[in-house]
């Protein structure tokens, strides 16, 4: 049991289970909400667009967290699942003229259905070997889009995605889209957090810790593994659809193979097994990628190297070195620091 601040006692079960337990919690949470929804008014387009990209990444990252962090079903196909959701929504809006807000849940469900098909391999596969079916899923997705459904997806030419419209209001600038993405991120994040406190979530954790023991305890592990795939990919699909309708055009090159590795990699950097881990992972990934762009040109001006190209190399080198540094410093992820911080705050005067 995690520590409570001094003088806070749970007298009801509902108090014990609540996410927001104390007044401070509530104030902080409401303050955060107010900040989240007023800050954009003062941000410039660049930061807003970064916020949107981080938000969509974060939604997909919640999915990775549920699959990898909670259930330990290692997925190296997440970019494919994200793309699947994006394509479902793009096809529905483009060909059938659906409203984006009806297509969005279907994008999630479509990706979840694809995830279920891939997830059947969990019947026998486990651990690192889960890389095989999930990584294959990514390439099968490419094939489906570029060859099988070419008539509708226009193959490699890409497909247009209209900006979302809500009762006559079009989300076609960064500010309004930021609110949309922020709201969705909050909903999915709270949903994921809550899922982990239900029977289903506890079953996921039991499977992660020891799936044989979980089975002995009467958990239908195949069912819950499939459920984990479905839920994780639902998040991926939502994230993908939001991202697709932000850029208003997608083709398969938007979902490169490397992204599948990045999703898991930055989950580990962020911290496995907590929703905050996914949040930190997404923030770290996108901010690092952006920060590197500012530092590399400086290095190019200074380093006297004529043989190679300093800018092109320094982007990669800084990116990898900073990540390696973080991993060596804290293999349990940034979320672990967050936990330590919270713990020391609660025990404030006596934080030993």
């Amino acid at each position: 049991m995690k520590g409570r601040p001094c003088g806070v006692f749970d007298v009801k079960y509902s108090q014990d289970r609540a996410i927001l337990r104390t007044k401070t919690h509530w104030t902080l949470f409401i303050g955060f909400l107010i900040l989240l929804f007023t800050l954009p008014l003062f941000l410039n387009t660049h930061l807003l667009s970064m916020g949107i990209i981080i938000g969509t990444t974060m939604i997909a990252m919640f999915g990775v967290q549920i699959m990898v962090g909670y259930t330990y079903q290692i997925t190296l196909g997440h970019a494919g699942f994200v793309g699947f959701g994006a394509y479902v929504s793009a096809l529905l809006t483009h060909h059938l003229g659906w409203n984006f807000f009806f297509a969005l849940p279907l994008a999630g469900l479509g990706a979840a259905a694809y995830g279920l098909i891939i997830g059947t391999s969990t019947l026998r596969c486990k651990g690192l070997y889960m890389v095989i079916p999930t990584f294959s899923a990514h390439f099968i997705f490419f094939y489906l889009v570029n060859e099988v459904f070419k008539k509708w997806t226009f193959g490699t030419e890409g497909i247009e995605c209209a900006s979302p419209v809500f009762f006559g209001f079009t989300f076609d600038n960064d500010l309004s889209y930021f609110y949309l993405v922020a709201t969705m991120t909050l909903i999915v994040g709270i949903g994921a957090k809550n899922l982990m406190r239900t029977k289903c979530g506890r079953a996921f954790v039991a499977i992660r810790d020891n799936d044989v023991a979980a089975e002995v305890m009467g958990i239908n592990i195949f069912r819950y593994k499939l459920l984990s795939f479905a839920v994780g990919n639902f998040c991926a699909g939502i994230g993908g659809a939001l991202w697709a309708h932000y850029v208003t055009y997608i083709n398969t090159e938007f979902f490169p193979v490397l992204d599948t590795i990045y999703y898991v990699a930055f989950l580990v950097v962020g911290g496995m097994g907590s929703i905050m881990g996914a949040v930190f992972g997404a923030l770290f990934w996108r901010f690092l990628g952006e920060g590197v762009n500012y530092v590399a040109p400086f290095l190019d001006a200074v380093l006297p190297l004529s043989a190679g190209n300093v800018i092109s190399s320094m982007g990669l080198i800084l990116f990898s070195i900073v990540t390696i540094f973080f991993l060596i410093r804290e293999p349990r992820g940034i979320a672990h620091w967050w936990e330590l911080f919270k713990q020391s705050y609660r025990l404030h005067p006596f934080n030993y």
Partner: protein
């Protein structure tokens, strides 16, 4: 102990960064405001083997212009960002530049151009040249111009040249041309326009064989092309595909029997660097800029060499020349716009308006095909040269060839002359 090490490493790192920031703070004392251009480029991703040299040529020319006093006294600045071929990063750069008030944006890959096409129109930002020349970017015309002809046109020019040769040699039957390339937007670029043009001039384009992006062995694809009876093979891929393909042609004993041609991104120079003279013998490719390996005595190429030796102690290669050529064009565009509208008038619309004033304009160093722009036509060059690898050297294969204009049927009302 461990903490101390990390702390010291970190502090040194931060110190170095601060030092760099101080050292790099620009100390400009110019009277005239700068002309600012923006660019988005992939230097570390899939295009990392070609684009860095090209970008170096561009940056060097920007540097040279500034050293020589700028454009009519206005210093010129290029702000750019690197993407690693990742859309998310392209997008964040784009938003940053848009916020900074970008009017003129360089692009360097087809996927970026295709993805940004509609947004550029909406945000009124002008892309004078994109180094990725895929057809969907320019049909229907938008605010993107491409450097040289499009991939489809390059292939069509080759078809026209090959057909002329075929007729000259008095061979009978229809000529059959097969394509080989990866299954991406870039690899498919030649197929559909080529088939359309082939029908018009009586060449049978027998379809495309697809390759993995990083192949090891392409024997099946070669055999299928051979069985289909291809008289020519067109390579629509990056050089790692071309190298393996040429090796397989060699090992199957088909080299020289079925001639192979490719386009400017898979130049013979690149092939010679990668696999040497034996395998690349007979390879034909087109280019809209001069190959410095061939035109050694050309004064413009010599100037490129001098410039690169000055800044980087290296000789110029063909991609570098291509970058310089494009940069010279955009400088001239900026000069003309400045002359007509002044510094406040450097807007995307004015830039684009000035594009049509280029008629058969050769760059100051004359590095390749002249810039000739007609209304609605987003291609900046209308001529191509063909080169060939012969006995381990590059030689000219043909003189300037006029490029046919291949556009989708339903857009014919937009363009002046047919073909």
């Amino acid at each position: 102990m461990k903490n101390n090490i990390i702390r010291s490493v970190l502090s040194v790192f931060i110190f170095i960064l601060c030092a760099f920031t101080v050292a790099c703070t620009p100390k400009e004392e110019t009277t005239k405001p700068a002309v600012i251009h923006y660019g988005i480029v992939d230097l570390t991703g899939a295009y990392g083997t070609l684009v860095p040299d090209l970008w170096e040529g561009m940056l060097d020319y920007y540097k040279l212009v500034n050293e020589e006093g700028g454009i009519d006294g206005y210093p010129v600045k290029l702000i750019w960002g690197e993407t690693g071929n990742m859309m998310a990063r392209t997008w964040s750069h784009y938003k940053r530049y848009k916020r900074a008030g970008a009017q003129l944006l360089w692009l360097a890959s087809s996927p970026d151009g295709e993805a940004l096409k509609r947004t550029l129109v909406k945000d009124e930002i002008f892309c004078p040249l994109n180094y990725g020349q895929s057809d969907p970017q320019i049909y229907p015309p938008a605010w993107i111009y491409i450097d040289g002809p499009s991939y489809g046109d390059g292939f069509a020019a080759f078809l026209r040249m090959a057909k002329e040769q075929w007729d000259k040699e008095g061979k009978k039957g229809t000529m059959k041309v097969g394509i080989i390339g990866p299954d991406t937007a870039y690899g498919r670029a030649a197929l559909e326009p080529g088939q359309r043009f082939g029908k018009k001039i009586g060449v049978d384009v027998i379809g495309q064989e697809y390759t993995p992006v990083i192949p090891i062995d392409l024997t099946p694809q070669v055999l299928r092309l051979k069985n289909k009876g291809a008289d020519w093979i067109w390579l629509q891929g990056l050089s790692q595909i071309a190298t393996v393909f040429m090796k397989n042609m060699h090992s199957l004993g088909l080299q020289g029997k079925i001639p192979v041609a490719g386009f400017w991104w898979v130049s013979g120079a690149d092939m010679l660097r990668r696999i040497g003279p034996d395998f690349s013998e007979g390879y034909i490719f087109d280019s809209y800029n001069y190959m410095p390996q061939v035109e050694k005595d050309h004064p413009g190429v010599k100037k490129c060499n001098e410039m690169r030796l000055k800044y980087h102690q290296k000789e110029a290669n063909e991609v570098y020349v291509r970058g310089v050529r494009a940069a010279q064009f955009v400088m001239e565009l900026a000069r003309r716009t400045l002359g007509k509208y002044g510094h406040e008038g450097l807007t995307a619309k004015n830039y684009m308006g000035m594009m049509d004033t280029f008629k058969d304009w050769k760059t100051p160093w004359d590095l390749g095909a002249p810039f000739h722009i007609t209304p609605n036509d987003r291609r900046t060059a209308k001529k191509l040269l063909f080169y060939q690898v012969k006995d381990g050297n590059l030689v000219r294969y043909s003189d300037w060839v006029d490029i046919p204009h291949i556009y989708p049927e339903n857009m014919s009302h937009l363009f002046e002359n047919n073909l």
